[in-house]
């Protein structure tokens, strides 16, 4: 009986999220097609969706699997730069095909990166894990800073730390130029494509969470010893959540990259990881709806605050603190205290928050 109740409330929640995304899409697509939208907001639609994907995918690791990851932007950059290479290598192919293949390959490469990084990282717990993910995020950024990629008719050339070592013929084009990043990316990302990706990712995450595997992941989060004694392998399930989350960040990165004509590794630093974590914490850890809304609001907010000119980021910080305090109100129980405290509480107490 209890199980049926749980399941139905979970699927209700899932449909609420689909509803939010569909309404969001219809409203803005209508505004765009009727021209009733400021160019400021129109230019932000695709980044908003990318950050929403980042937030829900990080929520899978932070909320569902219960591991604090501070290197999520690293996976985004892997997907982003992979997408740049793929879309350049595809040359004259149709834009939608390029976009889809870029997203898939970007997600795949990010998943491989997530898997490899997961091997050492997931052997750790709590704060230690957080610090090591932070380190890996920085490592990815620094590797990309040294990476040179060129394309000529013989194929793709890679070099490390030295663009002259690419060995291309003179007609070849340097696609990724170390710290200068990628320039001249053709802007092929579209708002509908980004929303479709967000929908697919929500469907995958919510079905994963409500599946046998999802329950296993949450059981391990809530009480590792009990779960292990039931025969669940913590490493396997944590790795699954971590890799899936990394691949989703990679897909988001691919869309993000193909929305700007330039991309530098510096963009995906610690600050971006923390920004995404702020979306997750503000929206409520483990709460996908919250992640979606928080990402949307917090990406748009700095732009709405431009009239404060020099004091803009100060006002942004104050708004952030106020929102944190309000959503963390006693009456809205189940919100986080501080995120470290929250984790300990969760792991110690066992059981999902209401």
């Amino acid at each position: 009986m209890n199980m049926i109740k749980n399941a139905s409330s979970a699927s209700k929640k899932a449909f609420l999220n689909y509803g939010i995304v569909i309404v969001f899409f219809i409203v803005f697509q209508t505004l765009v097609s009727t021209g009733n939208i400021t160019s400021a907001l129109k230019g932000q639609l695709i980044p908003i969706v990318c950050y929403m994907i980042m937030a829900v995918s990080l929520n899978l690791v932070v909320g569902i699997s219960g591991e604090l990851s501070l290197g999520h932007a690293g996976f985004m950059s892997v997907g982003a730069f992979t997408a740049v290479i793929v879309s350049s290598a595809m040359g004259d192919a149709a834009n939608p095909a390029k976009l889809v293949v870029s997203m898939i390959v970007g997600a795949g490469v990010a998943a491989i990166a997530g898997f490899l990084i997961g091997i050492p990282v997931l052997r750790l717990n709590g704060d230690y894990l957080a610090i090591v993910t932070l380190a890996f995020g920085e490592i990815i950024k620094n590797i990309l800073n040294c990476l040179y990629v060129g394309i000529d008719e013989k194929g793709v050339h890679f070099a490390f730390n030295n663009p002259d070592a690419l060995g291309m013929n003179p007609l070849g084009k340097v696609v990724i130029n170390g710290p200068m990043g990628a320039v001249g990316i053709s802007k092929i990302a579209t708002f509908p494509a980004a929303v479709i990706l967000l929908m697919i990712i929500l469907i995958v995450i919510q079905n994963l969470v409500n599946s046998r595997t999802g329950r296993a992941i949450m059981a391990i989060r809530d009480n590792r010893i009990a779960a292990e004694s039931m025969g669940l392998s913590p490493m396997k399930y944590k790795m699954l959540a971590f890799t899936v989350s990394a691949s989703m960040a990679g897909a988001a990165g691919a869309v993000y990259a193909l929305n700007y004509s330039t991309l530098v590794p510096k963009k995906f630093d610690f600050n971006t990881s923390i920004l995404v974590l702020v979306f997750v914490v503000l929206g409520g850890i483990g709460n996908m709806t919250g992640s979606l809304i928080a990402a949307g609001v917090l990406v748009v907010l700095p732009e709405l605050l431009r009239k404060f000119s020099d004091y803009r980021m100060l006002v942004y910080a104050i708004v952030l603190i106020l929102v944190m305090l309000v959503t963390n109100n006693e009456k809205l129980k189940g919100r986080i205290d501080t995120f470290f405290k929250k984790f300990r509480m969760n792991i110690a107490k066992g059981g999902r928050k209401k």
């Binding site: 400021t38 530098v264 609001v297 709405l304």
Partner: protein, 402 residues
């Protein structure tokens, strides 16, 4: 249940907020230009946007450009010729994403031309947008070639990176400053890496021997390895294609290591004398390639330095000078067009119309501008500026032309 209610409320609020700000769109554009006034005069009000890092780590450059542009605009508006400029500086935090947002904000404001963006990476992103929207851009200081490449509407007021790197190598070779050169550059920075690559290529042609190449990243504060490597390889000159904050640390650490080669910098080094707490005697003898020196005695520079100092209480850097020249270059271009076509009223003209006019004028071989960063500046069709590089040396705590 409460949670669900909350999320519903928040969604509602979000949608309301977003649609609310979507309401007043497309105020710009409108009913076309009023065109010629018949008497060869330039009239009307130009809406000029500036995009640059007004906050964050690169704020010093963005603010210098914004201040410099403001002074030029104040002077132009005070002439009382019927032509005025309305200036709107927007912050981009030296981030491509924020910069594109800032650009869209300016579009909503009805921008007609842009003096920006200040830093290179954001400029590449914004110039791609401006190219497809047909908005004219004159960047004061974004120096990479990819800023202008393939975009007919984007022009540079500063030297492009390859010119700086190769001009530096040329200068060192021509004046026999050294034969053994060390380079310390920031390999996490597009500007620094770009100059280094062209310097290296040119140095090889000219027979300069690069005996030491060392790198650092943005948060490096200890340069003992880099300085030590240059010292042990016997470099007579250290080329520093970097910004002045790390350069000041390198000078300090070289001095404490008892190593005193010649130091040669590029325009990013400009401003080293204004760092608080920096012992300027350490910078004695440092040479740098820059288009602007505040101690120049010509009227143009003297006036600019005086009004900048009066208004902002400091000596303007090269970035301020670039911003100042940008506003004047755009005004001069419009006046040039007005004189040739029987007048021009810019009020109400679309960005697209102005873009066509400005491209025509900037690529006109007869059009040249005398500014504080160079006399007789002309532009090539691919958007690069032609002017003579100047080298200055620091003597007794001031920049002195060489």
């Amino acid at each position: 249940m409460k949670k669900k209610l909350l999320s519903l409320i928040m969604t509602g609020a979000l949608v309301m907020a977003m649609t609310a700000c979507g309401g007043n769109g497309n105020a710009a554009g409108g009913n076309g230009g009023s065109g010629s006034t018949g008497n060869g005069e330039l009239t009307g009000t130009l809406k000029l946007g500036v995009i640059g890092p007004l906050t964050g780590g690169a704020a010093i450059y963005g603010n210098a450009v914004a201040n410099g542009t403001q002074i030029a605009v104040d002077e132009i508006n005070a002439r009382g010729t019927g032509f005025t400029i309305e200036l709107n500086p927007q912050d981009d935090e030296h981030d491509a994403e924020k910069s594109v947002n800032a650009y869209h904000q300016l579009q909503d404001w009805g921008v007609q031309a842009i003096a920006g963006t200040v830093t290179t990476t954001p400029c590449i992103a914004v110039s791609a947008e401006a190219n497809s929207d047909r908005v004219f851009m004159l960047t004061p200081s974004a120096s990479a070639t990819s800023v202008t490449e393939g975009k007919d509407n984007v022009f540079q007021l500063c030297f492009a990176d390859p010119n700086q790197g190769s001009a530096s190598a040329q200068y060192i070779a021509d004046n026999n400053l050294a034969t053994k050169v060390a380079v310390i550059y920031n390999n996490a920075d597009a500007y620094s890496t770009g100059i280094y690559q062209t310097f290296k290529a040119k140095a090889a042609d000219l027979g300069l021997e690069i005996v030491s190449e060392t790198t650092f990243t943005d948060d490096t504060t200890d340069f003992s390895v880099q300085v030590g490597d240059a010292q042990s390889n016997g470099a007579e000159l250290v080329f520093l294609p970097i910004y002045y904050t790390p350069a000041s640390l390198i000078l300090q650490q070289a001095a404490s290591a008892g190593y005193s080669p010649k130091f040669f910098g590029v325009d990013g080094m400009d401003g080293i004398l204004t760092i608080e707490g920096f012992d300027t005697s350490l910078a004695e003898g440092v040479m740098l390639l820059t288009p602007f020196s505040a101690d120049a005695t010509d009227d143009l520079t003297a006036n600019f330095v005086k009004s900048y100092n009066d208004k902002y209480g400091e000596v303007p850097s090269q970035f301020a000078a670039d911003g100042y020249d940008c506003a004047y270059a755009i005004t001069a271009a419009l006046e040039f067009y007005a004189a040739k076509n029987g007048g021009l009223d810019v009020t109400g003209m679309t960005a697209e119309q102005l873009c066509d006019i400005l491209i025509k004028v900037f690529t006109d071989p007869d059009f040249s501008v005398d500014g504080v960063t160079g006399l007789g500046m002309r532009w090539t069709a691919n958007g690069e500026v032609n002017k003579d590089p100047k080298a200055v040396v620091i003597k007794n705590g001031v920049y002195v032309g060489m």
